[in-house]
């Protein structure tokens, strides 16, 4: 089992007071805190080997390049990809999705084609497809979900047809917490030869992910949501598919040859990494993965499952609380409403009590529209949260209910 006190000691930011109350950080789906080893890795990089990479004849540049490519190797291992060059560094999950929407769209999407997404996507996995479809005369088709927050798989099956070019679904919903049956989603799409992008931003922090087992064509996530530095995202793509896509951004690094008549592009992964990469934070992310590997993703998942169950039990015991999304397959996130209290009011007062929660639509407005609500209160768990924090939170919630009565 995870020794949570030991883990908490690794995260200096957690040990502070907010408005004279101990900080209880329950906004992990927005961004997680970072263990000191990660903060130090970024610092050490700048103190020792900072330099531009890949074309350096000098010592610093060589050290930085080696460490940078080691990070890529570690990401590959972490998500169990086949090849190192299937790992593309971006600035975040949003950019990873924009990259695929842009490059895939340009290459493969024509008038009348269809892209399938689900009704519970984060805006980052809606708007890029929406804009690309608008530009190319294609149509966006939406997989609906049941009131408990589970995808309607029958409806999905019926959405797939000969015009479907790509399916893009979230692995875990950031608004509802649902873990989607992505393996089935992928298998059904593959039955018709359709490639699938999985938005793993809310999955990777909470469970072991194996992209070869999932067999998805693309998988993306952000380092900052899994205890890594800001400014780093990952796009995994199957070699075969990445090779088929045209470059997205262009500039230095990703070039083989430039003349004013014609430029040719480098091999994977460089073809998709234009400009000076964020070496410092990518090395910081390497420290994150080493840290997570030491604890073990399966143990983290088991610990968080316990925690989640406890939180749900406590919340269900408060009569005024109504869960939004209630699938038994859940990770990381619990969204709820409190009878008669606006989420924004609840969040404001909880903040003053030391609890960092998120309120609003969580960048998933369509989900809120479906439930006909303006937003929810959302708590989201990390590996450093404790049962005691959750007890304190539900106690605080009762006080909030009292205040607004």
């Amino acid at each position: 089992m995870v020794d949570v006190e030991k883990i908490r000691a690794d995260f200096p930011i957690l040990h502070q007071q907010v408005y004279n109350n101990p900080l209880v950080y329950l906004d992990n789906a927005a961004t997680t805190q970072k263990p000191e080893v990660v903060i130090n890795a970024v610092r050490d990089y700048y103190l020792t080997v900072n330099s531009n990479i890949h074309r350096s004849v000098h010592y610093l540049g060589q050290q930085a390049t080696l460490a940078f490519e080691e990070s890529r190797q570690l990401v590959r291992e972490f998500i169990h990809a086949r090849h190192q060059h299937e790992i593309i560094f971006t600035k975040g999950a949003t950019e990873s999705i924009n990259l695929v929407a842009g490059s895939f769209g340009r290459q493969f999407v024509r008038e009348g084609d269809e892209i399938v997404i689900s009704a519970m996507e984060h805006h980052a996995n809606i708007v890029p497809w929406q804009l690309m479809c608008a530009e190319r005369g294609a149509n966006l088709r939406i997989i609906p979900f049941h009131p408990n927050g589970e995808l309607m798989m029958d409806a999905y099956r019926e959405l797939l047809n000969d015009n479907t070019r790509l399916v893009a679904v979230t692995h875990v919903s950031n608004a509802l917490g649902t873990i989607n049956p992505v393996k089935d989603v992928i298998a059904l799409a593959h039955g018709r030869g359709i490639p699938v992008l999985v938005d793993g931003a809310q999955a990777v922090p909470h469970m072991k992910v194996d992209v070869m087992e999932l067999d998805c064509e693309f998988y993306c996530f952000s380092a900052h949501k899994m205890y890594g530095p800001m400014g780093v995202g990952i796009l995994y793509g199957k070699e075969e598919w990445l090779n088929k896509l045209p470059p997205y951004q262009s500039g230095g690094e990703m070039i083989r040859n430039v003349t004013f008549e014609k430029s040719t592009f480098g091999d994977l992964p460089f073809k998709f990494e234009a400009g000076t990469p964020n070496v410092a934070d990518i090395l910081g992310f390497r420290a994150t993965l080493l840290y997570l590997n030491t604890i073990g993703m399966n143990r983290i998942a088991a610990y968080e499952e316990e925690l989640m169950k406890h939180a749900l039990d406590r919340l269900r015991a408060i009569p005024q609380v109504r869960l939004v999304g209630d699938s038994p397959h859940r990770a990381g996130v619990i969204s709820f409403l409190i009878e008669g209290i606006h989420p924004y009011d609840a969040g404001t007062v909880l903040d003053k009590m030391g609890f960092a929660v998120r309120t609003g639509h969580h960048c998933a407005q369509p989900v809120m529209d479906i439930y006909g609500i303006p937003g929810t209160v959302r708590i989201s768990l990390g590996l450093y949260n404790t049962r005691e924090e959750l007890n304190a939170f539900t106690d605080a919630l009762n006080r909030v209910i009292e205040m607004f009565r």
Binding site: H342, Y344, D345, V349
Partner: protein, 151 residues
């Protein structure tokens, strides 16, 4: 009382409270006493849309003075609005346009005023000042013989 005097009054009221929660309790109370907006103005055309809470605002003027009623779906927002209305109701358009309204910050509610927090309040203050400006301009035109009267 002048805008500044009422602001000072509010600031000293809030100084009584040592605890954050007491301040918010007071705000919630204030929110409940907000002079209710006539339901016929609680429509989209009077809506000031923020990110998390919605605000409806209706203004009318008498003798170059402005009067407001408002509502919000969030009680704390209503509380702050009621303070704003207490400060601004019955003031002249000139004074409203020039009011820095520093008290919101002074009573520790700065976060409700930060430009990146689209909670409706910032937009509401902007809207109030725009009303005042519009009335002032209309008024000047009316009193200025070089302008024809339109309304």
């Amino acid at each position: 009382m002048s805008i500044q005097e009422i602001e000072n009054q509010i600031v000293s009221e809030f100084e009584q409270f040592e605890d954050w929660l007491d301040r918010y309790n007071y705000l919630i109370e204030m929110g409940r006493t907000l002079p209710m907006i006539d339901p016929k103005y609680k429509t989209d055309s009077y809506l000031i849309s923020g990110c998390q809470s919605r605000v409806w605002l209706y203004a009318h003027h008498e003798d170059n003075k402005l009067y407001f009623t408002a509502d919000s779906d969030a009680v704390i927002t209503k509380g702050i609005i009621s303070l704003l209305i207490r400060v601004l109701n019955g003031q002249s358009t000139e004074d409203i346009i020039q009011a820095p309204l520093g008290f919101v910050d002074e009573i520790g509610l700065k976060e409700h005023l930060s430009p990146t927090r689209a909670n409706g309040l910032v937009s509401m203050i902007k809207q109030i000042k725009l009303y005042a400006l519009a009335y002032q301009t209309k008024n000047k035109q009316r009193n200025d013989p070089s302008h024809e009267q339109h309304g």
